[in-house]
């Protein structure tokens, strides 16, 4: 009953209530945006417990930075930026770690895990997406994740990633070529 009333609140009302320490209000924000965060984090890092850990950190960071949220951008954009930053930091951390032990090329440094899925059909579709993303250059992978898994326009992608529109457009073309070649081999 209480949760039901929170579901009807808009984002700014939930933010205001969360800032006052309202646990249920922040819980509603998590419920509302966890799928969006999962798409970004799992698209970039793969399907593993580490992805869930990063996902939790996204919302923890959000909670402690809610006071900085001015409401000029949409809450979803604000959360998405946190998710992208934390995910890219994790990739950098992994890159540094692997570079100490491996002389492999950059692409191989970010190998991520693909967990087992429930049914055969789901497993196949998920595995195609995960494996294709895994084989992509990380700078293309983030563009593809924003476009393919989040459905963002080129302009929105540029805004979230803080990149010029032209850069996003050129990376999108090159990412499509790379994706074609990867999927052709699978």
């Amino acid at each position: 009953m209480i949760m039901e009333s929170y579901r009807q609140l808009d984002d700014s009302e939930l933010v205001t209530a969360s800032l006052k320490g309202d646990k249920t209000a922040f819980g509603e924000i998590v419920t509302r945006y966890q799928k969006m965060v999962a798409r970004t984090v799992k698209g970039m890092l793969g399907d593993s417990v580490y992805s869930e850990d990063i996902g939790q950190e996204v919302f923890i960071k959000l909670f402690y930075s809610l006071s900085d949220f001015r409401g000029e951008a949409k809450l979803s954009t604000y959360i998405q930026k946190i998710a992208v930053n934390l995910t890219l930091n994790e990739i950098k951390r992994r890159k540094k770690f692997f570079s100490m032990f491996s002389q492999k090329g950059n692409n191989e440094m970010y190998e991520f895990e693909v967990a087992d899925h429930d049914t055969e059909g789901k497993k196949e579709a998920s595995e195609i997406v995960y494996k294709a993303l895994n084989r992509m250059d990380p700078k293309f992978r983030i563009i593809v994740t924003m476009r393919m898994l989040q459905g963002y326009s080129t302009k929105e992608t540029a805004e979230i990633l803080d990149l010029p529109l032209g850069t996003v457009l050129s990376r999108l073309s090159r990412a499509q070529e790379q994706l074609k070649s990867i999927l052709h081999k699978m």
Partner: protein, 117 residues
């Protein structure tokens, strides 16, 4: 949707001219679902409200500590091995006195060294 149609959908999603708004739902309908595990919300709320800020900082600290550890672990081990090798070459043994640099010294020579008598 068969596999080749699914692959086409993935490639089409990157067309500059296409509207990507409905693509995530189509991908999800094909079976590629992205979500966190059960009780994700409870875990997040638990980490924030039950443990407080300290835990968040602790997690950050542990992650940074791990990172620093990996950076210093290998050079550290290499330095220790080099030290032991040079010690063995200079002193001829790994005795306690060798480690302290007293391999060739006697008590009298140390007293002489310290007191000048």
């Amino acid at each position: 949707m068969n596999i080749s149609e699914f692959k086409d959908l993935l490639i089409r999603s990157l067309d500059k001219e296409s509207d990507p708004a409905g693509i995530p739902e189509e991908i999800e309908r094909a079976g590629a679902v992205f979500n966190f595990g059960e009780n994700f919300q409870e875990k997040v709320l638990g980490r924030i409200f039950d443990s407080g800020l300290t835990v968040v900082r602790e997690v950050e600290f542990i992650r940074n500590l791990n990172y620093v550890f990996y950076r210093i672990a290998l050079p550290g081990v290499a330095a220790i091995v080099l030290l032991l090798i040079s010690l063995f070459l200079m002193e001829g043994s790994f005795s306690f006195n060798s480690v302290l640099g007293l391999g060739n010294g006697t008590e009298e020579s140390i007293i002489t060294l310290l007191t000048g008598i």
